[in-house]
């Protein structure tokens, strides 16, 4: 029997989804098939929605799904129907200065207007014209989003775009943000289109393994781009809320204290004196005091900020939270976290205060611990838990493990969160094992690991 190849493509698509970390079960596979049978194949968006409804059960996985769907069920093949028609008239001018100028004018108009349809078309055109990498033989030519973006360099259009948006009546900061987002969006489209073309030539499986970025909650703090960091920051409050709800629920489940005799008897009156349901007095919740000590030197600064934000968003779960930042000197930052304060302001304040945490600006854990013991020894008592954040890279200086041992000994619990992958521990100037012997060290690379950790210590 002649097979259309649709089933093979479907199965390959599912395999790619699984490879990217989406838990797609056999039952969901069958659901998807059933959904596709019920749907009309005329519209690509409908099919995408059908797949999404049956296979993707978590919103954070949606971008991964979109990327893979575009690879396996591309929007158009090659230049598409339109491209073929334009080919004849434009074949002479593929890539020259004049084409570039006119292309950039078109792009600026589309960006200013926010026209999705045109932007997709322009992205395809950008890759076709400026991103082609001729190969030595047939099948060896390829496409490069990097080359295309270098030639078109949409980032240089930012100023013009900002001016266009200002003319529309937007205010300054907002126009700049919005321009940044649109240009970022166009960059992504160009990358997507280059991927699509490569997938067309080499097969989607080849691209799927390398092209897919992890979803935002599994993205490494150290590997995050600027736009990722913004997105992560938006995730902090929802995450804190989720954690808080989960914690309250779990505490309630464990709350059954001693029998409340009075309430039990009162309740039994409605069932003729038979106590069908017993009532219990609530247990007193136990709340810890938390001291957070974090390295804010360049490489790990964003990790420290996220952890601090999360901890302070959960502050009502603790009796008291104090936070200190250090590079080679210690600085208290607790006062920046006012209840209900604005996330962006807090971030800005933290960044500004980082200068107080440094004398010479080279990370020195040993000196920072010594200073902390000297100036803030009162912060740590038998009721406090100590949380240290940092990559344990101390520029080969004295580690001062004795002070750390004293601090950890005084505190009720102590943990160390390290944003580096375990395989990088002890490489170069990392003193992960030495410090890890004093204070238990936990790998914490992304939001998921962070929230799991915070949940476990509460």
């Amino acid at each position: 029997m002649q097979r259309s190849g649709l089933l093979d493509r479907h199965i390959a698509f599912l395999e790619a989804l699984r490879g990217a970390g989406l838990p797609v079960s056999l039952a969901e596979d069958l659901d998807a098939i059933e959904a596709l049978t019920a749907l009309d194949w005329g519209d690509r968006a409908t099919i995408r929605d059908g797949y999404a409804a049956t296979l993707v059960k978590r919103h954070s996985q949606r971008p991964t799904f979109e990327t893979l769907f575009d690879l396996y069920f591309p929007r158009l093949v090659g230049e598409g129907a339109r491209g073929a028609r334009d080919e004849e008239e434009e074949s002479a001018v593929r890539d020259n200065a004049r084409a570039l100028v006119s292309f950039r004018t078109q792009l600026l108009d589309a960006l200013a207007g926010g026209d999705e349809e045109t932007l997709s078309r322009l992205a395809a055109e950008a890759v076709a014209r400026f991103g082609a990498m001729p190969g030595r033989g047939p099948g060896l030519s390829s496409w490069s989003a990097y080359t295309a973006l270098q030639r078109v360099s949409p980032a240089e259009l930012t100023e013009q775009l900002v001016r266009a948006l200002l003319a529309e009546g937007r205010v300054d900061g907002e126009a700049r943000r919005s321009a940044g987002r649109r240009i970022g969006g166009f960059t992504r489209r160009v990358e997507d289109d280059a991927r699509r073309r490569i997938a067309e030539e080499k097969g989607p499986d080849h691209v799927a393994n390398v092209a897919v970025r992890p979803s935002i909650d599994r993205l490494d703090f150290t590997a995050a781009r600027k736009s990722d960091l913004e997105e992560m920051r938006r995730e902090i409050y929802p995450l804190a809320r989720r954690l808080a709800t989960r914690l309250t629920q779990e505490h309630h489940a464990r709350r059954r204290g001693p029998l409340d005799f009075r309430r039990t008897v009162r309740a039994s009156i409605s069932t003729g004196g038979v106590p069908l349901v017993t009532h219990h007095k609530p247990k007193r919740p136990h709340r810890t005091e938390l001291v957070v000590l974090c390295d804010v030197s360049g490489s790990v600064a964003s990790f420290a900020q996220f952890t601090l934000l999360l901890v302070f968003a959960l502050r009502d779960q603790f009796q008291k939270v104090r936070a200190f930042t250090f590079i080679d000197h210690v600085h208290e930052v607790t006062h920046h976290f006012k209840p209900g304060a604005d996330v962006v302001d807090v971030m800005a304040d933290l960044a500004a205060s980082a200068s107080h945490a440094a004398l010479w600006g080279r990370t020195n854990y040993g000196r920072a611990f010594a200073k902390f013991e000297e100036e803030h020894a009162d912060a740590i008592g038998p009721k406090t838990s100590l949380l240290i954040l940092g990559d344990a890279r101390s520029n080969y200086s004295d580690l001062n493990e004795r002070v750390l041992r004293d601090l950890a000994g005084t505190a009720r619990h102590a943990w160390w969160l390290n944003p580096e992958h375990t395989r990088h521990w002890d490489t170069g100037d990392s003193a992960a094992t030495k410090y890890g012997e004093v204070v238990p060290m936990v790998e914490c690379r992304n939001l998921t690991q962070l929230s799991e950790f915070v949940h476990d210590i509460l």
């Binding site: 659901d31 978590r58 989720r242 629920q249």
Partner: protein, 288 residues
């Protein structure tokens, strides 16, 4: 019975019921009907998750059975309960007679003494039914286990009576604010739809359909302002429900032009955190 004939049928009929669905919502709702699978709708508060279920009920002429979930919800509130008081009365009343215990026993575990709760009610109904399980993330994990049997086989097992199988499968909608991750088992049995904030065009349609008195110009200004607010980093971005409230507020205050002063005066309707309001005023350069 088939619920809808095609995704575009969903769009038109829901629009008739006063709910403007986008393409993804229409496709997923159509699949939920065609595949007879429960539909899990997730998204921030106030984007019309509950309203979707109500609109499906209105559009198809089905009745809505609603189970509002909360912490501590149990089998007795969700599924069924024996009417203890009535059973006690029955036992006491029969004490004078010569009935044996087994007769009384058979007697008190019958339909007469069964209090059906939303889940059982929805399954036993013979008319078309939309079952709305609202805010399912608020419940404890045990209730999810309870939902599994209902959601996959549409049946409920009552030890004393046997298994009740649905005569006619209801259209099930579960809503969740994602405050808690639902178990894989529940998610696997459902179709998933994430409802986010709509684009400007659709939001404008929604606002004008909900508040027909609103002038076109003000509606445009309102939608544009809300879109600008959503681009800011806020603790709680304004939702559709809040846009509609804002439109109603503007009508009540007889504001015909949404200038900076009007926005600042009524900002409390859409932003519910003091820090969010400060940020909005500062970033959008609103001067009162």
């Amino acid at each position: 019975m088939t619920w809808f004939s095609s995704p575009s049928d969903v769009t038109t009929r829901l629009a008739g019921a006063g709910y403007l669905a986008d393409a993804a919502t229409a496709t997923t709702a159509f699949l939920a009907g065609a595949l007879e699978k429960p539909l899990l709708v997730e998204g921030p508060a106030g984007v019309g998750k509950t309203e979707l279920a109500k609109a499906v009920a209105r559009a198809t002429g089905a009745d809505l059975v609603r189970l509002q979930c909360y912490e501590g919800l149990d089998e007795a509130r969700a599924l069924y309960e024996w009417n203890y008081k009535k059973q006690l009365l029955r036992i006491q009343a029969s004490q004078g007679d010569d009935q044996t215990w087994s007769e009384t026993h058979d007697d008190i575990f019958t339909d007469e003494f069964l209090l059906t709760r939303p889940l059982l009610t929805a399954i036993r109904r013979e008319e078309p039914t939309v079952l709305l399980i609202d805010e399912v993330d608020k419940t404890d994990v045990e209730v999810e286990g309870l939902l599994l049997e209902v959601l996959s086989d549409f049946q409920v097992t009552i030890p004393e009576l046997g298994t009740v199988v649905a005569v006619r499968r209801p259209f099930v909608v579960l809503t969740s604010n994602a405050t808690r991750e639902l178990s894989e088992a529940v998610k696997r049995r459902c179709l998933y739809l994430h409802l986010g904030y709509p684009d400007a065009e659709r939001e404008r349609e929604i606002v004008t359909s909900q508040v027909p008195d609103l002038e076109d110009k003000v509606a445009g200004q309102l939608v544009a302002t809300v879109a600008r607010l959503r681009e800011l980093e806020l603790k709680k971005a304004p939702s559709i429900a809040e846009s509609v409230d804002w439109a109603r507020t503007l009508i009540a205050l007889e504001i015909n032009d949404l200038d900076d002063k009007a926005i600042v005066d009524t900002l409390g309707v859409i932003l519910k955190h003091a820090s969010d309001q400060d940020r909005a005023v500062r970033e959008l350069r609103l001067r009162s």
